[in-house]
């Protein structure tokens, strides 16, 4: 959707970002002193080095699209918003929250293999692991906001129900003008994003509405139980459920 905005280039998930942000944060802690004293690399210079490294991955795409800013939507970015803010002080941060039950139902259909073992990833097989991961990601994002970081929280369900309102709020937060083009995402260019993200087909075919409340028919009773155990309280807190009786 964002890629349709005249000022924003948003390609497939550029998954190198969370890995590099996490690495930069780790370097500050584990060898900040050695870097500063022996290599003359200050904390600020370290930020500049990783800013340039990460930028070098999306700059070519931004130029091809001829846009002035980039949107990057790898879900794991949420775990590194603090570090990404240090690396990109001018960046805006958006936290997309979706009903964890639909997230788990969706994950269970993904065909993702662990590159190290060749086995299917646990997050696509075990509802408890998927639910715990969802809760961890959502809580990390909410904690960053509570700690004072400027983050726009966006509900996936509201975006589907009323894209115009939610997108205009989002563009206002980003300081971008309204663009009618963003609503024509179903004609998107990303039909072949394939490997990049399994939802490419959904994005392209505008089948979003079918992915809301899918959990009701997709999840088994034991899967629901596992989700309640891992994330029942968070689902209630977010208003997705009134209690654990669902």
């Amino acid at each position: 959707m964002l890629d349709r905005h005249p000022h924003i280039a948003c390609g497939p998930e550029l998954r190198v970002i969370p890995a590099l942000a996490s690495f930069a944060a780790q370097m500050r802690v584990s060898c900040g002193e050695v870097l500063q004293e022996n290599y003359g690399v200050t904390d600020k210079q370290l930020s500049a080095i990783f800013h340039d490294l990460i930028s070098s991955f999306f700059e070519p795409y931004r130029k091809i699209r001829g846009k002035k800013r980039i949107a990057e939507k790898t879900p794991a970015n949420i775990l590194h918003f603090g570090e990404l803010k240090a690396l990109f002080p001018d960046a805006s941060f958006v936290h997309v929250i979706r009903d964890g039950r639909d997230v788990v139902a969706s994950l269970m259909t993904m065909d993702w293999t662990d590159a190290a073992t060749g086995q299917p990833m646990a997050i696509t097989c075990d509802p408890a692991i998927a639910a715990a991961a969802w809760a961890h990601h959502v809580r990390t994002g909410m904690n960053a906001k509570a700690a004072g970081q400027r983050i726009f929280e966006l509900r996936y369900e509201e975006l589907i129900a009323d894209p115009k309102r939610v997108l205009s709020d989002l563009f206002a937060f980003l300081g971008e003008p309204w663009s009618e083009d963003a609503l024509s995402y179903h004609l998107g260019d990303q039909l072949d994003a394939g490997m990049a993200e399994s939802s490419a087909e959904q994005v392209s075919r505008s089948l979003y509405h079918q992915s809301i409340n899918r959990w009701r028919h997709d999840l088994s009773a034991p899967a629901k139980q596992a989700i309640k155990h891992q994330a029942g309280d968070l689902l209630t807190k977010l208003g997705y459920a009134a209690d654990n009786d669902w």
């Binding site: 497939p12 550029l14 050695v34 290599y39 003359g40 795409y61 990049a196």
Partner: protein, 231 residues
């Protein structure tokens, strides 16, 4: 951090490379340059780098990324320092290195078998890198024992390998007022004295027969391959 960044590059290249070439106009050369530039920026910021022709980086775990670094930096040269695994074990067992996450001492500084397995693994990776880089102009194997026995001759060979002139001050490193940081503080006492033989063969008196047996089990073949058991 060098092995970490180099391995990020390898993972990126093997897992996401094709995808990014298609969608982000990032070919393998562009990706390699991006990572090489970041690593170089860190190494070349050192004040001494401005006036030097060569930059040396000596973190022991760099050996894990020798093959990747060789691809990232086509002009780089690699020095694999080998030391008798039994002395390495003695040295490791004197360390108090703990996992920062849970405060527990690492197995390779606690148990002789784990120390030997650690040495064996790293030595093996170094040998694999030597075969992969496969060029004596780029890969130098330096025995710690040879350096300790005959520092001047060994440094002459090393300087020749680096196309650097030999300087007798190299042997007087202990006169330098080195700021020791991080893990280097463990070596402070050693770095303030001339190089000597007194750390060679410590295993003969420091290791128990049971520890020797464990080391033999985990690293016997490698010790043999380097000729440490026959000498």
């Amino acid at each position: 951090m060098l092995p970490g960044l180099a391995m990020q590059w390898r993972d990126f290249n093997t897992q996401l490379g094709a995808l990014h070439e298609k969608h982000f106009a990032l070919g393998p050369d562009a990706i390699r340059n991006n990572f090489a530039k970041a690593i170089a920026a860190i190494l070349l910021d050192a004040p001494s780098a401005a006036t030097s022709r060569l930059v040396a980086e000596k973190a022991p775990l760099n050996v894990l990324a020798f093959e990747d670094l060789a691809a990232l930096f086509p002009e780089a040269k690699f020095i694999h320092v080998i030391r008798d695994g039994r002395d390495v074990a003695v040295s490791l067992l004197e360390r108090d290195w703990r996992n920062p996450r849970n405060g527990a001492a690492f197995p390779h500084v606690t148990n002789a078998g784990a120390a030997a397995a650690y040495w064996n693994g790293l030595a093996n990776i170094g040998r694999k890198a030597e075969r992969a880089i496969g060029n004596s102009q780029r890969f130098f194997v330096l025995r710690y024992e040879t350096l300790a026995h005959n520092p001047e001759r060994t440094l002459h060979s090393l300087c020749k390998f680096l196309n650097a002139s030999f300087d007798a001050n190299l042997l007087k490193f202990y006169e330098l007022e080195l700021p020791l940081l991080g893990i280097e503080r463990d070596s402070a006492a050693r770095l303030r004295k001339p190089i000597s033989n007194d750390r060679v063969g410590r295993w003969r008196t420091k290791l128990t027969p049971a520890q020797n047996k464990l080391i033999e089990r985990h690293a016997g073949a490698m010790l043999d391959a380097f000729g440490y058991k026959t000498n």
